[in-house]
Protein backbone atom coordinates (compact mmCIF):
# COMPACT_ATOMS: atom_id res chain seq x y z
CA UNK A 1 0.00 0.00 0.00
CA UNK A 2 2.82 2.39 0.91
CA UNK A 3 4.26 2.11 -2.60
CA UNK A 4 1.05 3.52 -4.09
CA UNK A 5 0.32 6.35 -1.66
CA UNK A 6 3.76 7.97 -1.52
CA UNK A 7 4.64 10.66 -4.05
CA UNK A 8 7.98 9.08 -4.94
CA UNK A 9 9.00 11.81 -7.39
CA UNK A 10 8.67 14.45 -4.69
CA UNK A 11 10.32 12.31 -2.02
CA UNK A 12 13.28 11.38 -4.24
CA UNK A 13 13.66 15.04 -5.19
CA UNK A 14 13.90 15.96 -1.49
CA UNK A 15 16.49 13.21 -0.95
CA UNK A 16 18.84 14.04 -3.82
CA UNK A 17 18.58 17.80 -3.40
CA UNK A 18 19.30 17.43 0.32
CA UNK A 19 22.31 15.20 -0.31
CA UNK A 20 23.80 17.40 -3.02
CA UNK A 21 23.14 20.78 -1.38
CA UNK A 22 23.46 19.61 2.24
CA UNK A 23 26.94 18.22 1.65
CA UNK A 24 28.00 20.42 -1.28
CA UNK A 25 27.34 23.82 0.30
CA UNK A 26 29.17 23.06 3.59
CA UNK A 27 32.02 21.60 1.50
CA UNK A 28 32.14 24.82 -0.56
CA UNK A 29 32.29 26.80 2.69
CA UNK A 30 35.10 24.52 3.86
CA UNK A 31 37.02 25.29 0.65
CA UNK A 32 36.37 29.00 1.19
CA UNK A 33 37.95 28.72 4.65
CA UNK A 34 40.80 26.56 3.37
CA UNK A 35 41.55 28.95 0.52
CA UNK A 36 41.38 32.08 2.66
CA UNK A 37 43.48 30.69 5.49
CA UNK A 38 46.14 29.21 3.22
CA UNK A 39 46.23 32.33 1.01
CA UNK A 40 46.93 34.52 4.07
CA UNK A 41 49.63 32.11 5.31
CA UNK A 42 51.25 31.96 1.85
CA UNK A 43 51.19 35.74 1.57
CA UNK A 44 52.89 36.10 4.97
CA UNK A 45 55.56 33.57 3.94
CA UNK A 46 56.26 35.28 0.62
CA UNK A 47 54.80 32.53 -1.60
CA UNK A 48 52.74 34.79 -3.84
CA UNK A 49 51.84 32.27 -6.58
CA UNK A 50 50.62 29.71 -4.06
CA UNK A 51 48.71 32.47 -2.29
CA UNK A 52 46.92 33.41 -5.52
CA UNK A 53 45.91 29.79 -6.16
CA UNK A 54 44.52 29.41 -2.65
CA UNK A 55 42.84 32.80 -2.99
CA UNK A 56 41.03 31.58 -6.10
CA UNK A 57 39.95 28.43 -4.21
CA UNK A 58 38.57 30.63 -1.43
CA UNK A 59 36.71 32.95 -3.80
CA UNK A 60 35.23 30.05 -5.78
CA UNK A 61 34.10 28.35 -2.55
CA UNK A 62 32.46 31.54 -1.29
CA UNK A 63 30.86 32.25 -4.68
CA UNK A 64 29.43 28.72 -4.74
CA UNK A 65 27.81 29.20 -1.34
CA UNK A 66 26.29 32.55 -2.32
CA UNK A 67 25.08 31.19 -5.67
CA UNK A 68 23.50 28.13 -4.03
CA UNK A 69 21.62 30.29 -1.51
CA UNK A 70 20.34 32.69 -4.18
CA UNK A 71 19.36 29.79 -6.46
CA UNK A 72 17.41 28.04 -3.70
CA UNK A 73 15.51 31.22 -2.78
CA UNK A 74 14.64 31.85 -6.43
CA UNK A 75 13.38 28.26 -6.82
CA UNK A 76 11.30 28.48 -3.63
CA UNK A 77 9.75 31.85 -4.37
CA UNK A 78 8.73 30.52 -7.78
CA UNK A 79 6.23 28.12 -6.09
Amino acid sequence: MIATVVDWDALLQVIWVSLVAGVGVPAAWGFALLGTTRALESGRNGRAAEGVVYGVVGVVGLATVVAAIIFSIVILTGD
Binding site: I2, Q13, V14, V17, S18, T37, L76
Partner: protein, 377 residues
Protein backbone atom coordinates in the same frame (compact mmCIF):
# COMPACT_ATOMS: atom_id res chain seq x y z
CA UNK B 1 -23.47 35.97 13.83
CA UNK B 2 -22.62 32.86 15.89
CA UNK B 3 -20.43 31.41 13.13
CA UNK B 4 -18.62 34.74 12.70
CA UNK B 5 -17.71 34.69 16.39
CA UNK B 6 -16.41 31.12 16.02
CA UNK B 7 -14.32 32.15 12.98
CA UNK B 8 -12.76 34.97 14.99
CA UNK B 9 -12.02 32.53 17.84
CA UNK B 10 -10.58 29.94 15.42
CA UNK B 11 -8.35 32.51 13.70
CA UNK B 12 -7.18 33.83 17.08
CA UNK B 13 -6.54 30.26 18.27
CA UNK B 14 -4.62 29.46 15.07
CA UNK B 15 -2.44 32.52 15.55
CA UNK B 16 -1.88 31.57 19.21
CA UNK B 17 -0.85 28.12 17.97
CA UNK B 18 1.50 29.77 15.48
CA UNK B 19 2.92 31.84 18.34
CA UNK B 20 3.44 28.72 20.47
CA UNK B 21 4.97 27.00 17.43
CA UNK B 22 7.58 29.75 17.22
CA UNK B 23 7.95 29.73 21.00
CA UNK B 24 8.34 25.95 21.14
CA UNK B 25 10.12 25.04 17.89
CA UNK B 26 12.36 27.87 16.88
CA UNK B 27 14.44 27.51 20.00
CA UNK B 28 15.78 24.43 18.22
CA UNK B 29 16.77 26.60 15.29
CA UNK B 30 19.02 28.87 17.34
CA UNK B 31 20.28 26.27 19.83
CA UNK B 32 23.35 25.27 17.84
CA UNK B 33 24.36 28.89 17.21
CA UNK B 34 24.09 29.61 20.92
CA UNK B 35 25.81 26.45 22.14
CA UNK B 36 28.83 27.03 19.85
CA UNK B 37 28.80 30.75 20.80
CA UNK B 38 28.41 31.77 17.17
CA UNK B 39 25.88 34.35 18.35
CA UNK B 40 24.77 35.71 21.74
CA UNK B 41 21.35 34.30 22.73
CA UNK B 42 19.35 37.49 22.32
CA UNK B 43 20.91 38.31 18.96
CA UNK B 44 20.33 34.73 17.74
CA UNK B 45 16.68 34.80 18.78
CA UNK B 46 16.05 38.26 17.27
CA UNK B 47 17.74 37.24 14.03
CA UNK B 48 15.76 34.00 13.87
CA UNK B 49 12.47 35.79 14.46
CA UNK B 50 13.12 38.23 11.58
CA UNK B 51 13.98 35.38 9.19
CA UNK B 52 10.97 33.35 10.34
CA UNK B 53 8.83 36.33 9.37
CA UNK B 54 10.48 36.57 5.94
CA UNK B 55 10.31 32.80 5.43
CA UNK B 56 6.53 32.77 5.82
CA UNK B 57 6.20 34.70 2.54
CA UNK B 58 8.40 32.35 0.50
CA UNK B 59 6.01 29.56 -0.52
CA UNK B 60 2.43 28.20 -0.17
CA UNK B 61 2.94 24.53 -1.08
CA UNK B 62 2.79 23.29 2.53
CA UNK B 63 -0.32 25.39 3.24
CA UNK B 64 -2.00 23.70 0.26
CA UNK B 65 -1.14 20.25 1.65
CA UNK B 66 -2.51 21.07 5.11
CA UNK B 67 -5.70 22.66 3.74
CA UNK B 68 -6.46 20.08 1.04
CA UNK B 69 -4.72 16.75 1.61
CA UNK B 70 -4.91 15.84 5.32
CA UNK B 71 -8.55 16.39 6.27
CA UNK B 72 -11.62 18.03 4.79
CA UNK B 73 -14.33 19.82 6.72
CA UNK B 74 -17.90 20.50 5.77
CA UNK B 75 -18.97 24.11 5.37
CA UNK B 76 -20.96 24.32 8.59
CA UNK B 77 -20.59 25.02 12.30
CA UNK B 78 -19.50 21.43 13.05
CA UNK B 79 -16.61 21.84 10.61
CA UNK B 80 -15.60 25.08 12.30
CA UNK B 81 -15.78 23.47 15.74
CA UNK B 82 -13.58 20.62 14.49
CA UNK B 83 -10.89 23.03 13.25
CA UNK B 84 -11.02 24.84 16.59
CA UNK B 85 -10.76 21.56 18.56
CA UNK B 86 -7.82 20.37 16.44
CA UNK B 87 -5.96 23.58 17.19
CA UNK B 88 -6.64 23.24 20.91
CA UNK B 89 -5.33 19.66 20.84
CA UNK B 90 -2.08 20.88 19.27
CA UNK B 91 -1.70 23.83 21.66
CA UNK B 92 -2.38 21.64 24.70
CA UNK B 93 0.25 19.10 23.61
CA UNK B 94 2.76 21.89 22.90
CA UNK B 95 2.20 23.29 26.39
CA UNK B 96 2.60 19.88 28.02
CA UNK B 97 5.86 19.13 26.19
CA UNK B 98 7.12 22.67 26.85
CA UNK B 99 6.40 22.23 30.56
CA UNK B 100 8.39 19.00 30.72
CA UNK B 101 11.15 20.36 28.45
CA UNK B 102 10.57 17.77 25.72
CA UNK B 103 11.26 18.71 22.10
CA UNK B 104 8.06 17.42 20.58
CA UNK B 105 6.83 18.46 17.12
CA UNK B 106 4.38 21.34 16.75
CA UNK B 107 3.71 20.26 13.19
CA UNK B 108 2.73 16.73 14.12
CA UNK B 109 0.77 18.06 17.08
CA UNK B 110 -1.22 20.25 14.69
CA UNK B 111 -1.86 17.44 12.22
CA UNK B 112 -2.65 15.00 15.05
CA UNK B 113 -5.06 17.47 16.63
CA UNK B 114 -6.84 18.14 13.33
CA UNK B 115 -7.10 14.43 12.50
CA UNK B 116 -8.50 13.56 15.95
CA UNK B 117 -11.03 16.39 15.97
CA UNK B 118 -12.22 15.87 12.38
CA UNK B 119 -12.41 12.08 12.90
CA UNK B 120 -14.72 12.56 15.89
CA UNK B 121 -16.69 15.41 14.29
CA UNK B 122 -17.12 14.30 10.69
CA UNK B 123 -16.15 10.63 10.59
CA UNK B 124 -13.31 8.73 8.96
CA UNK B 125 -14.36 9.61 5.39
CA UNK B 126 -13.17 13.21 5.97
CA UNK B 127 -9.70 12.08 7.10
CA UNK B 128 -7.32 11.22 4.24
CA UNK B 129 -5.31 8.47 5.93
CA UNK B 130 -3.51 7.10 2.87
CA UNK B 131 -2.38 9.72 0.31
CA UNK B 132 -2.54 12.59 2.80
CA UNK B 133 -1.47 11.46 6.26
CA UNK B 134 0.64 8.44 5.30
CA UNK B 135 1.98 9.67 1.96
CA UNK B 136 2.54 13.35 2.68
CA UNK B 137 3.03 13.43 6.46
CA UNK B 138 4.09 10.13 8.03
CA UNK B 139 6.55 8.81 5.42
CA UNK B 140 8.28 12.19 4.94
CA UNK B 141 8.29 12.52 8.74
CA UNK B 142 10.24 9.28 9.00
CA UNK B 143 12.53 10.05 6.06
CA UNK B 144 13.42 13.63 7.10
CA UNK B 145 15.32 12.99 10.37
CA UNK B 146 17.12 9.98 8.87
CA UNK B 147 18.05 12.03 5.81
CA UNK B 148 19.18 14.95 8.00
CA UNK B 149 21.21 12.47 10.10
CA UNK B 150 22.97 11.14 6.98
CA UNK B 151 23.48 14.56 5.37
CA UNK B 152 24.70 16.10 8.66
CA UNK B 153 27.10 13.19 9.18
CA UNK B 154 28.44 13.28 5.62
CA UNK B 155 28.80 17.07 5.73
CA UNK B 156 30.92 17.02 8.89
CA UNK B 157 33.11 14.17 7.57
CA UNK B 158 33.74 16.13 4.34
CA UNK B 159 34.36 19.36 6.28
CA UNK B 160 36.91 17.73 8.58
CA UNK B 161 38.69 16.28 5.54
CA UNK B 162 38.90 19.75 3.94
CA UNK B 163 39.91 21.86 6.94
CA UNK B 164 41.42 19.20 9.20
CA UNK B 165 45.02 20.36 8.80
CA UNK B 166 44.34 24.06 9.35
CA UNK B 167 44.96 25.87 12.62
CA UNK B 168 41.82 25.56 14.76
CA UNK B 169 41.50 29.24 15.73
CA UNK B 170 40.74 30.83 12.34
CA UNK B 171 38.75 27.78 11.24
CA UNK B 172 36.46 27.93 14.27
CA UNK B 173 35.98 31.65 13.64
CA UNK B 174 35.12 30.89 10.02
CA UNK B 175 32.56 28.28 10.99
CA UNK B 176 31.03 30.59 13.59
CA UNK B 177 30.59 33.17 10.86
CA UNK B 178 29.22 30.41 8.63
CA UNK B 179 26.68 29.64 11.35
CA UNK B 180 25.28 33.14 10.98
CA UNK B 181 24.40 32.13 7.41
CA UNK B 182 23.35 28.53 8.11
CA UNK B 183 21.36 29.59 11.20
CA UNK B 184 19.63 32.25 9.12
CA UNK B 185 18.75 29.73 6.44
CA UNK B 186 17.39 27.35 9.05
CA UNK B 187 15.21 30.12 10.53
CA UNK B 188 14.01 30.97 7.02
CA UNK B 189 13.24 27.30 6.39
CA UNK B 190 11.34 27.07 9.68
CA UNK B 191 9.22 30.11 8.83
CA UNK B 192 8.58 28.72 5.36
CA UNK B 193 7.41 25.29 6.51
CA UNK B 194 5.77 25.99 9.87
CA UNK B 195 3.96 29.29 9.30
CA UNK B 196 2.31 27.71 6.27
CA UNK B 197 0.69 25.05 8.45
CA UNK B 198 -1.17 27.78 10.33
CA UNK B 199 -2.10 29.43 7.03
CA UNK B 200 -3.50 26.09 5.88
CA UNK B 201 -5.61 25.68 9.02
CA UNK B 202 -6.99 29.24 8.87
CA UNK B 203 -7.82 28.65 5.20
CA UNK B 204 -9.60 25.44 6.22
CA UNK B 205 -11.65 27.42 8.79
CA UNK B 206 -12.54 30.08 6.20
CA UNK B 207 -13.71 27.31 3.85
CA UNK B 208 -15.78 25.74 6.67
CA UNK B 209 -17.37 29.14 7.27
CA UNK B 210 -18.14 29.63 3.58
CA UNK B 211 -15.89 32.71 3.43
CA UNK B 212 -13.67 31.01 0.85
CA UNK B 213 -14.61 28.54 -1.84
CA UNK B 214 -13.43 24.97 -1.26
CA UNK B 215 -13.04 24.45 -5.02
CA UNK B 216 -10.00 26.64 -5.55
CA UNK B 217 -7.12 26.87 -3.07
CA UNK B 218 -6.38 30.45 -2.11
CA UNK B 219 -4.68 31.94 0.95
CA UNK B 220 -5.67 35.58 1.56
CA UNK B 221 -2.79 38.05 2.08
CA UNK B 222 -3.95 38.95 5.58
CA UNK B 223 -3.66 35.26 6.55
CA UNK B 224 -0.05 35.11 5.29
CA UNK B 225 0.87 38.37 7.05
CA UNK B 226 -0.74 37.48 10.38
CA UNK B 227 0.77 33.96 10.41
CA UNK B 228 4.22 35.43 9.67
CA UNK B 229 3.86 37.95 12.47
CA UNK B 230 2.63 35.39 15.01
CA UNK B 231 5.46 32.91 14.39
CA UNK B 232 8.05 35.72 14.48
CA UNK B 233 6.72 37.01 17.81
CA UNK B 234 6.65 33.48 19.25
CA UNK B 235 10.23 32.99 18.15
CA UNK B 236 11.30 36.21 19.81
CA UNK B 237 9.73 35.29 23.13
CA UNK B 238 11.51 31.94 22.78
CA UNK B 239 11.48 28.53 24.47
CA UNK B 240 14.67 28.59 26.46
CA UNK B 241 14.30 25.22 28.18
CA UNK B 242 14.39 23.50 24.81
CA UNK B 243 17.43 25.48 23.69
CA UNK B 244 19.20 23.77 26.54
CA UNK B 245 18.06 20.29 25.44
CA UNK B 246 18.94 20.68 21.79
CA UNK B 247 22.09 22.73 22.21
CA UNK B 248 23.98 20.87 24.88
CA UNK B 249 22.26 17.73 26.06
CA UNK B 250 22.51 15.66 22.87
CA UNK B 251 26.24 16.27 22.56
CA UNK B 252 28.71 19.10 22.89
CA UNK B 253 29.23 20.59 19.44
CA UNK B 254 32.05 22.52 17.88
CA UNK B 255 31.35 25.31 15.40
CA UNK B 256 31.91 23.06 12.37
CA UNK B 257 29.36 20.55 13.65
CA UNK B 258 26.87 23.35 14.37
CA UNK B 259 27.37 24.69 10.85
CA UNK B 260 26.96 21.23 9.29
CA UNK B 261 23.87 20.46 11.38
CA UNK B 262 22.17 23.77 10.58
CA UNK B 263 23.08 23.65 6.89
CA UNK B 264 21.89 20.09 6.38
CA UNK B 265 18.62 20.55 8.26
CA UNK B 266 17.90 23.82 6.42
CA UNK B 267 18.44 22.03 3.12
CA UNK B 268 16.11 19.16 3.99
CA UNK B 269 13.36 21.50 5.23
CA UNK B 270 13.60 23.85 2.25
CA UNK B 271 13.56 20.95 -0.23
CA UNK B 272 10.53 19.47 1.54
CA UNK B 273 8.76 22.84 1.58
CA UNK B 274 9.25 23.11 -2.16
CA UNK B 275 7.24 19.91 -2.74
CA UNK B 276 4.68 20.63 0.00
CA UNK B 277 5.71 18.17 2.74
CA UNK B 278 4.79 19.55 6.18
CA UNK B 279 7.94 18.47 8.04
CA UNK B 280 8.94 19.02 11.63
CA UNK B 281 11.86 21.35 12.15
CA UNK B 282 12.50 19.67 15.48
CA UNK B 283 12.74 16.20 13.96
CA UNK B 284 14.97 17.37 11.18
CA UNK B 285 17.46 19.42 13.18
CA UNK B 286 17.62 16.73 15.87
CA UNK B 287 18.56 14.19 13.20
CA UNK B 288 21.22 16.53 11.81
CA UNK B 289 22.61 17.34 15.27
CA UNK B 290 22.87 13.66 16.15
CA UNK B 291 24.36 12.85 12.72
CA UNK B 292 27.04 15.52 13.03
CA UNK B 293 27.95 14.21 16.49
CA UNK B 294 27.85 10.52 15.58
CA UNK B 295 30.07 11.06 12.53
CA UNK B 296 32.80 12.47 14.78
CA UNK B 297 32.49 9.99 17.63
CA UNK B 298 29.53 7.71 18.43
CA UNK B 299 30.13 8.00 22.15
CA UNK B 300 29.88 11.82 21.93
CA UNK B 301 26.12 11.49 21.47
CA UNK B 302 24.04 11.13 24.61
CA UNK B 303 21.81 8.44 23.20
CA UNK B 304 19.54 8.38 26.25
CA UNK B 305 18.50 11.98 25.64
CA UNK B 306 18.10 11.23 21.93
CA UNK B 307 15.87 8.26 22.89
CA UNK B 308 13.65 10.50 25.05
CA UNK B 309 13.24 12.85 22.09
CA UNK B 310 12.21 9.96 19.84
CA UNK B 311 9.67 8.84 22.45
CA UNK B 312 8.16 12.33 22.50
CA UNK B 313 7.91 12.28 18.70
CA UNK B 314 6.13 8.92 18.72
CA UNK B 315 3.63 10.17 21.29
CA UNK B 316 2.90 13.50 19.60
CA UNK B 317 0.50 12.48 16.82
CA UNK B 318 -1.75 10.13 18.84
CA UNK B 319 -1.69 12.31 21.97
CA UNK B 320 -2.65 15.46 20.08
CA UNK B 321 -5.31 13.48 18.20
CA UNK B 322 -6.87 12.26 21.45
CA UNK B 323 -6.84 15.76 22.95
CA UNK B 324 -8.32 17.19 19.71
CA UNK B 325 -11.10 14.59 19.68
CA UNK B 326 -11.93 15.13 23.34
CA UNK B 327 -11.90 18.90 22.90
CA UNK B 328 -14.42 18.61 20.08
CA UNK B 329 -16.73 16.53 22.31
CA UNK B 330 -16.45 19.09 25.12
CA UNK B 331 -17.07 22.07 22.81
CA UNK B 332 -19.94 20.26 21.06
CA UNK B 333 -21.59 19.56 24.43
CA UNK B 334 -22.35 23.29 24.64
CA UNK B 335 -24.06 23.26 21.23
CA UNK B 336 -22.87 24.41 17.81
CA UNK B 337 -22.66 28.09 18.70
CA UNK B 338 -19.84 30.13 20.18
CA UNK B 339 -20.38 28.99 23.79
CA UNK B 340 -18.24 25.84 23.47
CA UNK B 341 -15.20 27.55 21.92
CA UNK B 342 -15.41 30.42 24.43
CA UNK B 343 -15.52 28.03 27.41
CA UNK B 344 -12.73 25.80 26.02
CA UNK B 345 -10.58 28.85 25.22
CA UNK B 346 -11.04 30.15 28.76
CA UNK B 347 -10.07 26.72 30.13
CA UNK B 348 -6.93 26.42 27.99
CA UNK B 349 -5.85 29.98 28.85
CA UNK B 350 -6.33 29.23 32.55
CA UNK B 351 -4.37 25.98 32.24
CA UNK B 352 -1.55 27.71 30.34
CA UNK B 353 -1.42 30.46 32.97
CA UNK B 354 -1.15 27.85 35.75
CA UNK B 355 1.68 26.04 33.94
CA UNK B 356 3.60 29.29 33.44
CA UNK B 357 3.07 30.30 37.06
CA UNK B 358 4.22 26.90 38.31
CA UNK B 359 7.26 26.92 36.04
CA UNK B 360 8.17 30.41 37.26
CA UNK B 361 7.88 29.32 40.90
CA UNK B 362 10.23 26.42 40.16
CA UNK B 363 12.84 28.96 39.05
CA UNK B 364 13.11 28.02 35.39
CA UNK B 365 11.11 30.80 33.86
CA UNK B 366 11.29 31.40 30.14
CA UNK B 367 14.03 33.90 29.38
CA UNK B 368 16.60 32.29 31.67
CA UNK B 369 19.37 30.85 29.56
CA UNK B 370 21.83 28.46 31.21
CA UNK B 371 25.45 29.47 30.94
CA UNK B 372 27.30 27.59 28.19
CA UNK B 373 28.86 24.48 29.62
CA UNK B 374 26.53 24.35 32.62
CA UNK B 375 25.39 20.94 33.83
CA UNK B 376 22.20 19.86 32.06
CA UNK B 377 19.30 19.16 34.36
Amino acid sequence: MGSEIIVVIVVATALIFDFTNGFHDTANVVATSISTRAMPPRVAVGYASILNFVGAFVSLEVAATVANDVVSVNANSIGLLAVFAGLVGAIAWNLITWYFGLPSSSSHALIGGMVGAVFVAEGSENVFFEEGILGKVMIPALVAPVLAFIVGGLAIVVLYRIVGRLRPGPVSGGFRFGQVISGGLLALAHGTNDAQKTMGVITLALVANGTLSGDEFHVPDWVVGSAATAIALGTYVGGWRIIKTMGSRIHKMDAAQGFAAQGSSATVILAASHVGFPLSTTHTISGAVIGSGAAKRLSAVRWGVAGNIVLAWVLTLPAAAVIGGLTFLVARAFGTGAAGPIIVSAAILTGAGMLFARRSREGAAPGVVPAPGSTPS
